[in-house]
Symmetry: C2
Subunit: 313 residues, 2 copies
């Protein structure tokens, strides 16, 4: 017999990669008595009903949060303020309201003013994902060994924070607490700037006059293809991230530009020693990431390689 689930009713607003993965993992782990979801598009709602992995699909945000004791917004950052306003009158006292947005300062600013006093607001950000999106893209293992950062505003009920921490831990995540402001700086460098750079270089390659698109695609295994993966991420989500974390992204971009100028100068001057020194230093960071299990040690991310066909005799 199963233990009592820690939440009676889990409501998810939005069912993309993250929402869909939470639903699948929460169900697998028995974390909620029932799971109710809604999504803005009728097509997504119909697909989720078809998939049969939640208890109920409803048409409105208001209906979704009814009687829920954990509500998680799994929608782009820019949409969270309006949804908070919309669900506020329908929330049960004592409910934990959370989100999964990649920016936390803007989420607190946009959502907190709308939420009633008897509701526990605990913003969260699971640092996990793939380049895929939509209701079919989620899978229950997505959060295993990934970090989930909680940024409870000062004065948040510690018991609510602890319950949300336990929820994410049960999904397989390692949980850390920090301020929203610090979160936004950390993610600006580990996630937002890499995406901006990748989006930029893929766009640059697409527009060149001297090199055709098919050459770019054919010879992409020289390094370029690695960038195309994150430049294939959901455009709405990423538009909102850059608008919501403008200040920290622009600051990191400033530092990046200075460093790029330094390396450019070394190339222009033929300063091989400076290049070698820099390229040696960056190897250590990769080792650190692989050592703590945040990436695969297999060459080429473990991409599959075909077998060698025998040469005809």
């Amino acid at each position: 017999m199963n233990a009592t689930p820690p939440f009676k009713r889990l409501a998810l607003i939005g069912f993309g990669l993250i929402g869909g993965s939470i639903a699948r993992a929460a169900r697998a782990q028995g974390l909620a008595g029932d799971i109710v979801i809604t999504a803005r598009s009728a097509q997504t709602r119909a697909r989720v009903a078809e998939l049969g992995i939640v208890d109920r699909v409803v048409e409105t945000n208001a209906a979704a949060v009814q009687d829920a004791d954990l509500v998680i917004l799994c929608i782009p950052v820019g949409a969270c303020g309006a949804v908070a306003q919309e669900i506020a009158p329908h929330l049960k006292p004592g409910v934990i309201v959370s989100d999964v947005g990649s920016v936390k300062g803007a989420i607190v600013r946009d959502m907190a003013p709308h939420l009633p006093k008897d509701v526990h607001f605990v913003p969260a950000h699971p640092v996990a994902g793939t380049e895929h999106s939509g209701p079919d893209s989620g899978f229950p293992e997505l959060f295993i060994n990934r970090w989930c950062i909680l940024t409870p505003p000062e004065g948040t009920d510690p018991d609510a924070v602890e319950r949300l921490r336990a929820f994410w831990a049960a999904l397989g995540a390692k949980v850390e607490l920090m301020t929203a402001d610090h979160h936004d700086r950390v993610l600006a460098i580990t996630s937002h700037l890499p995406h901006l750079i990748a989006y930029t270089i893929v766009g640059t390659a697409d527009e060149l006059a001297q090199v055709t698109s098919s050459e770019v695609i054919n010879f992409s295994a020289g390094g370029f293809r690695d960038f195309t993966r994150i430049a294939a991420s959901d455009p709405t989500m990423w538009r909102d991230v850059f608008l919501a974390n403008k200040e920290a992204v622009l600051e990191m971009l400033g530092t990046f530009n200075e460093d790029l100028s330094k390396l450019t100068r070394a190339i222009r001057r033929g300063d091989g020693e400076a290049l070698f020194e820099h390229f040696t230093r960056t190897r250590a960071i990769r080792r650190g990431i692989v050592d703590i299990g945040q990436d695969s040690a297999a060459p080429d991310f473990g991409r599959p390689h075909a077998q060698l066909a025998q040469r005809p005799d």
Copy 2:
């Protein structure tokens, strides 16, 4: 019974990722009667002898090329000129001399003047690799479905070009011919600029005062870890690439900087429409790369995911 191998003796100078993969694949495919290799470091030579995958390990470049009918330099671009000069007096008339360098203009400029008239010089570049290096890093499947670009100078014997084409095809590669100059522009955008950008951003992350190294490493799954893979590539090889392809890299870097300024301006002005339009366009390129089999369609490059442990009751 096996067919006669297309080359009596294959000599490889250098036994890193590429040299080691050629040796393994050529042996698996029976492309040479015997395979002789040498490497600059005694440690590498000892390791190759231990691995037992070639017929003979010799101590000098001169000894390696003795009686070979295919010689391939598998060493950093910057070392090719001096090695060409060194081996020139020991080459058999009619031998095909090739290389695997990521830059082709500089290779032709540095090697061609040293080679005797009765030698066929066919520069080559297999667009394949991983972030690993050293004698143990090679594997026979590395070149399968990857492109190998040949850049024979005008007037090269077509029969020699055809023999080298067939050699690379037997290793599993798709072969294309182009001028050295065009090659260097194509690779500047598909390989050299991506590496430069990756090296830069990993360096930037390492130097930040506000975000600790352990935070960068912990939260790298948000995108940053993808960049650390190519920024872990061999420093000597990459130093030489940037010095040897300076002009094309600086030109592509100029275009990249313009594009980055445009996106930066859109962020600063809060122009969500411009960001969304750009982020939508870049998805198509990823699709193109996956469609022609130059990358895996699996989410996250097919990185493995651990199983979800059951919640204790």
